[in-house]
């Protein structure tokens, strides 16, 4: 017998609201319909009534996890309209913040995934580790969620003692290599719950234009840090982990390997942090009429901002945000087709969705 199960908007697995109508035949999911918009705040429209300082604070609030990425992308686009170029030290600090954010996002996701697998001890371990990443972020920025680090032409705060941050990163890396990575890559529980579940084939991933770790876990080697380097990424050495299987386990492996790559990038960036200013000092700037676009690789994949300005205006004429979850979420329909009903919360969580980002 065919029946429909509405899942959400209060979700069994995730904190944010969204709804999935699952069409089931027995325990097997035949099809699914996604409903978003529960977090729609009209942020793009609000941005048109904010000046160039206020708009940074506003867009930082698009997402509670990758808040720094949003201001980084916005500021990069606004720098394109003002002609300002951040000094080298600022570019490195931007990389450090972006990678710390990726670390805390991936570890948070690992914790939630562990909980959904029935691995609650691992959930606690991951959250303890994430807390250490948050401590590093707080030590640098003074904040734990909205870091207020980016500004047009650079960053707001310096890293005065990179060696102490480096020690924290090394301790984190050792702990991840000792506990999180081996458990996720070798444990039987993780394998049995994730292998062959929620498959997104390479062909479908390309057709849907999915991005980030979900694309890389479906064999699409796509990463803007490598393909279109921004900030100081062109000067840093790192690998882009790719897995071909396209299942939940592949997404788990890609993120686990990315945690190690982020630590590698952080070690390099902290060691090579160049001296000098952290923002363009005392330089007057003005917005030219036009549109500038910037893209960065957020923890969940490509974020793109298009910012349009009219010369002499205090406010942007238009700010458009294409978030990674907006590109990835339609793939859930294809991932849950043929899956067991009991696996659907884990499959949905495996894309590491951010519904606030999606709805804006």
């Amino acid at each position: 017998m065919s029946y429909k199960i509405p899942m959400g908007p209060y979700h069994p697995a995730l904190e944010e609201p969204y709804k999935l109508d699952l069409i089931c035949e027995g325990e097997t999911v035949e099809d699914a319909k996604l409903h978003i918009g529960f977090n729609f705040r009209g942020i793009e429209h609000l941005a048109e009534s904010r000046n160039y300082i206020q708009v940074i604070a506003l867009m930082e609030r698009v997402c509670g996890i990758c808040s720094n990425i949003h201001t980084l992308t916005l500021c990069t686009a606004m720098e394109g309209l003002t002609g300002l170029t951040p000094p080298p030290r600022a570019q490195y600090i931007r990389v450090i913040m972006a990678e710390l954010e990726r670390l805390h996002s991936h570890v948070l996701w690992a914790g939630i995934a562990a909980k959904l697998m029935g691995f609650k001890t691992m959930f606690m371990t991951c959250f303890e580790l994430r807390e250490k990443v948050m401590d590093v972020l707080q030590a640098i920025s003074g904040n734990r969620v909205n870091y207020s680090m980016n500004r047009i032409g650079g960053v707001n705060r310096d890293i005065t003692d990179p060696q102490s941050i480096l020690k924290m990163v090394e301790a984190l890396e050792a702990e991840m290599a000792r506990t999180v990575i081996p458990i996720f890559t070798t444990s039987r529980t993780a394998t049995s719950r994730c292998a062959g579940v929620g498959v997104l084939t390479t062909e479908k991933a390309i057709a849907l234009g999915v991005v980030g770790p979900v694309a890389r876990a479906s064999g699409v080697p796509q990463d803007l840090r490598r393909a279109a380097p921004y900030a100081a990424y062109a000067e840093l050495d790192f690998d882009v982990p790719v897995q071909p299987a396209g299942d939940v386990r592949a997404r788990l492996l890609v993120r686990a390997l990315e945690i190690m790559e982020s630590c590698k990038i952080l070690r390099q960036a902290l060691s090579k942090l160049p001296p000098g200013e952290i923002h363009t000092e005392g330089e007057k700037f003005a917005f030219t009429t036009g549109t500038a676009t910037a893209r960065v690789e957020a923890p969940r994949g490509e974020v793109m901002y298009s910012v349009s300005w009219r010369e002499g205006s205090r406010n942007p004429a238009r700010v458009h945000v294409r978030t990674p979850t907006f590109a990835v979420m339609p793939a859930i329909r294809w991932m849950v087709k043929g899956a067991r009903l009991a696996d659907t919360p884990l499959i949905q969580a495996s894309i590491d969705p951010c519904y606030s980002c999606t709805d804006r």
Binding site: G37, H45, S49, I206, G209, A228, H320, A327
Partner: protein, 147 residues
């Protein structure tokens, strides 16, 4: 000649690519959005997004289509005199949600496709220009007065 240069030539245009604001722009000229989507498919370019701009007064809309080709960001701008443009959903599955979102937020009709129920504002009226609706409601003016 790169495969990018072949696109305008193939479609009878003399336009050249111009790099501006981080994007490689090509004036599509007489090329329709569907011809463009087919050309992007041939190149195996990845669709990123569409950005809709409401032009001042009654000048209509500008739609910017973006694709990624090996890390290069490609941009194509179409000015709409009216409120409709051909859908490319059947050529490019990735446009589904952004076409639906623009239809909901700007009341632009993507012809040749069917819409599922509203993506962002379920239960609301489809095809409403939210910007005009907000201005008409006076909410924005009230907010400015408070400031």
């Amino acid at each position: 000649m790169t495969s990018l240069d072949e696109i305008p030539q193939k479609h009878g245009s003399n336009e050249a690519w111009v790099e501006k604001g981080g994007v490689h722009w090509l004036n599509p000229g007489k090329m329709s959005v569907r011809q463009l989507a087919a050309a992007m498919n041939e190149l195996h370019a990845r669709f990123i997004t569409i950005t809709a701009y409401q032009l001042p007064k009654e000048e209509g809309f500008r739609m910017e289509y973006h694709w990624d080709l090996d890390g290069q960001l490609l941009g194509f701008s179409f000015v709409l005199a009216g409120k409709s443009i051909e859908s490319i959903f059947d050529l490019c599955e990735a446009v589904d949600w952004i076409e639906r979102e623009i239809h909901e937020g700007f009341a632009i009709e993507f012809t040749g496709r069917e819409y599922e129920p509203l993506l962002l504002r379920q239960g609301d009226t489809p095809g409403v220009n939210l910007r005009d609706a907000v201005v008409a409601s006076g909410a924005l003016a009230a907010n400015q007065e408070k400031k």
